[in-house]
Symmetry: C2
Subunit: 322 residues, 2 copies
């Protein structure tokens, strides 16, 4: 069993690689090799008994994909993408990576003829505009950002390549991962982690929205567990749409901060500065949060039990040491 | 006012050109030039006072698009596509024309910076799989053919280019056009016109499905009228999804044949031979027919009043003479 993680240098891809290495098996088979592929050098992971390769891969370049996605690749995780604010600023690059890059990976699989499992990460950014709440598996995808549009079109491709038998595709729309370890990035959602992560590390953070702002979240630990499960779902259980909402939970900023206080005491919350940012608000206020993930829940994927749990997972798994 | 019809050699595009030439105006302005562009030489139309150009255009070739879509193009109708059965047989060509061709046209508009009106024809083939009836503007697009997938992804592109202000895009999902003049084509829906058209012309036709088979239809005359109206809708009325279902009506094969008999007497119906075709049935039985087009109806688009009307329109507009 050889697993390729495209986007293996990112927070989710790298942690997924570490989790698979720790686990040692996937889809009932022993993992022989995990390849972490990315445009920048992926951080090293603890390999245990599994061989881990680190390789450069640019999904805008078909030859670059062909070099790491080969006949002996059994499972491909396609996590590589540029994030929402970046895709909104740079239209051409967003499409080149997020849509045509996805096409290139799927086409490589079709050309190989080996029908690998392909796990594709979509996003709740596919929802938006004039559709009724709650968001369900029947909801019209109506993205209001280029990032969301690229993911929505990628879902269509994944489903069609799967229907034709060129890949054994599975897609999941990721909730916003919070608490996300590492540094702020160019996603408009970046603050949704920094307001917890930075105060827990004794640093100030800025909250650009009000305390009542609602959004749909999942911890990194559960997200990675779900990504493993998605690869293991029986194909027959996927039905005629292979993409589903990954379960998350809806919290207000106030609930998140209260949870941090319940776990870590009153000091961190004092490090949050409240500064409205109309530009960020104009993006995130269009995002949907009343989201139901019935299909994924029925197939065994899980949300966090509480945001307190989420904070605890972050402290156990990710708190910077030293 | 210069209008470019890409796919101007097809049945719908050519009739649309003739209708616009007859009309002489679009969006409140006098039409100076209509360009009918296609991969094969478009049939000549009656020009009246409007200049009509006929030109070659292959939407898989960016230079070919640039030659006919220029700074003085005000309205683009993008009707060029390969049909369902063809796209299902030839995966690569289907994507090259129906998806990447659409991308190429939209990118040409973005590069020009002139924000032309772009009318894109999608299809009821975007519906399918496990979604509840009736189909509404809120229904998840779940295509079960490559043609439908290409159209669904094209809708996403049109909406995103519109949201960004690169085009003034409008999309309509066409019902099956019947009675469609001309010859049978490679669409799985081809019989839905031949069973009326051939008998009205004194020829035999084969019906590969049962008399109770239900589907969603529109006459060519109303389809062309609607395509004109779509270009004229106020942009503000389109909301945050610029693609809508074009109104049609659901008829059984029996209702269609009864309507033909009511209009043309009992002889034509005797020319229909009933021969089940499992291959065609396997495609068309997955198509949806309980479809509501509320948004388009509110914006002034229209369905046929009856299939009798539809048969009359065909006889008035299209019956081969001589």
């Amino acid at each position: 069993m050889n697993v390729l993680i495209i986007g293996g240098g990112g927070v989710v891809g790298n942690r997924l690689g570490a989790s698979l290495a720790e686990r040692g098996t996937l889809r009932g088979a022993e993992i022989d090799r995990i390849t972490l592929a990315d445009v920048s050098d992926p951080p090293r992971i603890d390999a245990k008994s599994v061989t881990v390769d680190y390789t450069h891969c640019d999904i805008t370049d078909q030859a670059s994909i062909a070099a790491c996605l080969t006949e002996d690749t059994d499972v491909v995780y396609l996590l590589a993408a540029i994030v929402s604010a970046h895709a909104e600023e740079d239209f051409a690059t967003g499409y080149a990576i997020n849509l045509f890059g996805t096409w290139n990976v799927l086409e490589r699989c079709r050309t190989l003829g080996t029908q690998p499992v392909v796990v594709f990460t979509s996003s709740i950014a596919v929802y938006g505009g004039e559709v009724d709440d709650p968001i369900t598996g029947q909801t019209f995808l109506n993205p209001q950002t280029s990032y969301g549009a690229q993911k929505a079109a990628g879902e269509v491709l994944l489903n069609d390549f799967s229907r034709k038998g060129y890949v054994d595709g599975r897609g999941v729309r990721l909730p916003t991962v919070s608490v996300r370890p590492g540094k702020p990035n160019r996603a408009a959602s970046s603050f949704m982690s920094s307001i917890i992560r930075e105060p827990l590390g004794g640093q100030q953070a800025v909250c650009p929205v009000g305390a009542d702002f609602l959004h749909y979240y999942l911890s990194l630990r559960k997200c990675v567990q779900n990504l493993v499960k998605v690869a293991e779902i029986d194909r027959a259980d996927l039905g005629r749409n292979h993409v589903m909402q990954m379960p998350g939970r809806t919290w207000s900023i106030r609930q998140m901060i209260d949870a941090m206080t319940a776990v870590a005491g009153p000091e961190p919350a004092k490090l949050i500065r409240w500064e409205d940012d109309p530009q960020i608000q104009s993006i995130v206020n269009g995002w949907r949060f009343d989201i139901h993930a019935d299909k994924a829940l029925a197939l065994g994927l899980e949300a966090d039990e509480s945001f307190e749990d989420n904070v605890r997972y972050y402290l156990e798994d990710d708190r910077p040491t030293g």
